[in-house]
């Protein structure tokens, strides 16, 4: 196969942006994606088969057949996990990665989120650390992501955000009923509610129309293509340069190394299952936290017997996501208005600054709940089945508001991805084995956040409230998985440097959620995108002709 300048592995949030930036700069790029390219035409609103309620499987990959993982529970027992099981910790596998079907909340992390250890100290037993870069380094790239991907929203209601040079490119969608109920209550509590920033067209933008506010958004494709991911923004731009070739249904097996310890390309299984080699000057790994770690660990060679970038046993460690907690309020009037996407209002007052707690998280109202999502979220005195349950569904389905949020997890080094020694996927590759847990302090913060959600709902006049504080025994690394190839200055405690370059291999980069040192109290996609722009710029600055030298 013809040698190219760069192979990018994974056409998701990070990989899509890298492919665009490199091909715009004139590099030849091959973008390899294990999943398919779906379009709005493939949009099927199926409550039982989508990326969020995957009762009958994931709509946008991976499929249940041939893609297992192993999960080790807190007692040490091993379980085979299928992609549609919660314990699998799935995100997605398709062009666009998670951004094809995501909820599209598009947050910037706060300046403190990059300095967690300096701000709070390191809790005993945790691996809490500062990022080697700060909010200021990323600010221009956050802005670039907001304008190129297309974000709507309005930060003017809150002082709790980092400095920004420009407002968002689109106004927010008009408020829905939940916004109107929650906003005055938050203000009475002295909070600073505002419109959630969203990668969703509130007005026509980027040549596509605006959101028509349907019932099925998070977990689904958008039939009017108003939701902005890498598949309808940067990836088409990359392809239009003529320098980028996207190959779908291609599963990368390993990164190949030459005798000098540099990467010489990748080996992958093509759509027909044939093993191919693609030689390249640079390899960029953007397969999302769990699969990027697995790919590096599977890339063994004489010089790297324990996998690439893994000299100090750091690849796969510090796996984290978000610990979701919150509360449901039940009302004696209709709160439901059938105006999607549903999530509309947030407060970030609680992300930092609570004495005794290392951080916190945003609180926001939840996306439109499908009926099956409310089955187990009825008032606590509801019978679990029988006429009582059926009546409660009728009484409360349209009369509830869920406020919740992603509690920032306190990372631990033994929450990790390794390779399983026996279980293989359909290509014969060792699968990811997920074990360990985040630091227990996470669950204390989560409990406090649930209390705060309940207090906000109480102020709205909810007649009853039930809290949920998640499971304290699980690392929850699914859609928001991060941290497995930590960014840092010290090769002994991190995998990549601040340019996302693997410490001991000059021409291999990890550019996706894996590099997050900590994961903020926010959904991560916009930060992944900002880092992808930032790291691409650094890469191009150091790129000399057809050879890469750092």
């Amino acid at each position: 196969m013809k040698r190219v300048n760069a192979v990018v592995i994974g056409a998701g949030a990070g990989g899509g942006i890298v492919a665009k930036e490199l091909s715009m700069a004139g590099l030849s790029v091959v973008l390899l994606e294990r999943g398919k390219w779906y379009t709005p035409y493939d949009c099927r609103k199926d409550d039982l088969r989508n990326q969020r309620t995957a009762v009958l499987g994931n709509a946008f990959g991976p499929e249940d057949h041939g893609n297992p993982r192993v999960w080790v529970d807190p007692a040490g027992a091993e379980h085979i996990a299928l992609p549609s099981d919660g314990i699998y910790q799935n995100n997605a596998a398709c062009v666009g990665g998670g951004t094809f079907s995501y909820g599209a909340m598009a947050w910037r992390y706060l300046p403190q989120d990059f300095r967690m250890k300096s701000t709070y100290g390191r809790p005993e037993g945790s691996s809490l650390e500062d990022w080697p870069i700060g909010y200021d380094d990323l600010e221009p790239f956050y802005e670039k992501a907001e304008y190129e991907i297309g974000i709507s929203g309005d930060y003017s209601g809150t002082p709790f955000h980092g400095p920004r040079r420009r407002p968002l490119p689109m106004p927010p969608l008009p408020p829905n009923r939940e916004f109107e109920i929650l906003e005055p209550a938050a203000k009475r509590l002295g909070l600073h509610p505002f419109h959630i920033p969203m990668a969703r067209n509130a007005v026509p933008y980027n040549g596509r129309g605006s959101c028509m506010r349907c019932r099925w958004c998070v977990g689904f494709a958008c039939e009017v293509d108003a939701k902005n991911g890498s598949q309808n923004t940067v990836i088409p731009t990359a392809l239009s340069t003529g320098n980028c070739e996207l190959r779908t249904k291609c599963m990368v097996k390993e990164i190949l190394t030459d005798n000098g310890g540099s990467a010489r390309g990748v080996a992958y299984f093509d759509a027909d299952g044939h093993l191919q080699e693609q030689p390249s000057d640079i390899v960029v790994v953007s397969a999302c936290a769990i699969e990027s770690a697995r790919l590096l660990l599977n890339s063994k060679s004489r010089l790297f017997p324990n996998g690439m970038g893994n000299r100090y046993d750091q690849v796969g460690r510090n796996l984290q996501g978000h610990h979701y907690t919150g509360a449901v309020g039940y009302f004696d009037f209709d709160t439901y208005d059938d105006i999607g996407p549903g999530a509309s209002i947030a407060v970030t007052d609680y992300n930092h600054g609570t004495p005794g707690l290392c951080g916190g998280g945003l609180l926001a109202n939840e996306f439109i709940r499908l009926p099956i999502q409310m089955i187990d979220r009825m008032p606590s005195d509801t019978p679990r089945w029988g006429l009582g349950h059926k009546r409660a569904m009728r009484d409360f389905y349209k009369r509830n508001i869920v406020v919740m949020g992603p509690t920032q997890q306190i990372p631990a080094a033994d929450a990790r991805v390794t390779l399983d020694s026996t279980v293989r996927d359909k290509w014969g590759l060792p699968v990811a084995r997920i074990s360990g847990n985040v630091h227990p302090h996470t669950f204390e913060i989560g409990k406090k956040q649930a209390d705060r959600a309940a207090a906000w709902l109480k102020e709205t006049g909810a007649v009853s409230i039930s809290r949920f504080a998640g499971k304290g025994v699980l690392v929850s690394a699914g859609q928001h998985q991060a941290g497995t190839c930590r960014m840092g200055d010290d090769p002994r405690s991190s995998v990549v440097n601040k340019q996302c370059q693997i410490h001991d291999v000059d021409n291999v980069f990890v550019i996706d959620s894996s590099v997050h040192v900590t994961n903020g109290g926010f959904n991560p996609a916009l930060t992944i995108m900002a880092i992808a722009y930032y790291a691409s710029e650094a890469l191009l600055r150091n790129w000399k002709g057809t050879q890469f030298r750092s």
């Binding site: 009762v55 009958l56 008009p174 506010r213 009926p371 089955i375 029988g386 009546r391 009728r394």
Partner: protein, 173 residues
């Protein structure tokens, strides 16, 4: 509106045809269940979601949902169903000398409560499949014609672009 409803009905019929075509277990109209299994499962499902002015689980097609998936996505639960349904009949015969399907509504309720206590793993499986079938998408055979969604007051079929209409002034779905 009509088009969509007709489509749902049409696909329900197509599904039924398929089921009859590949009846796996002798003399059964179902893909996986035997006729007797189906009667027992009906008795359990209809305690989980009984009829009132809206249909019960089985009336809304939950058995079709479960049966279809038992040879598709729920294949790994086949054994659990066979064992669980037999156990349900055993309990019923022991207590009332009747198969569960023949018991009175009051007796069925007692047996289903007993299953919840004694065989919680099976009970949770059936409970979640029943609720999914009833409240999930009609295309999978349960929630026939979106009946549970209409029960909850959702417009079915949904009004596309509803934000463009002033629903407050007219008839709210």
């Amino acid at each position: 509106m009509l088009t969509r409803r007709r489509f749902v009905t049409a696909s329900a019929i197509a599904g039924a045809g398929l089921a009859a075509g590949c009846a796996a277990r002798k003399n059964s109209a179902w893909e996986f269940l035997s006729e007797k299994d189906a009667r027992t499962l009906t008795a359990i499902c209809d305690q989980i979601i009984p009829a009132d002015d809206f249909p019960s689980a089985s009336q809304a097609g939950v058995l079709t949902y479960v049966d279809r998936q038992l040879v598709r996505h729920f294949q790994r639960f086949q054994k659990a169903y066979i064992k669980g349904l037999n156990h349900a009949n055993l309990l019923s015969r022991k207590r009332f000398s009747l198969d569960l399907a023949e018991a009175t509504p009051q007796q069925k309720l007692q047996i289903v409560s007993a299953i919840e206590q004694q065989n919680p793993e099976f009970f949770e499986l059936v409970r979640s499949h029943t609720l999914q079938g009833y409240y999930g998408s009609p295309r999978h055979g349960g929630n026939r014609e979106g009946v549970s969604w209409r029960m909850l007051g959702l417009s079915e079929p949904p009004i596309r672009g509803s934000a463009q209409y002033d629903l407050a002034s007219g008839s709210r779905p």
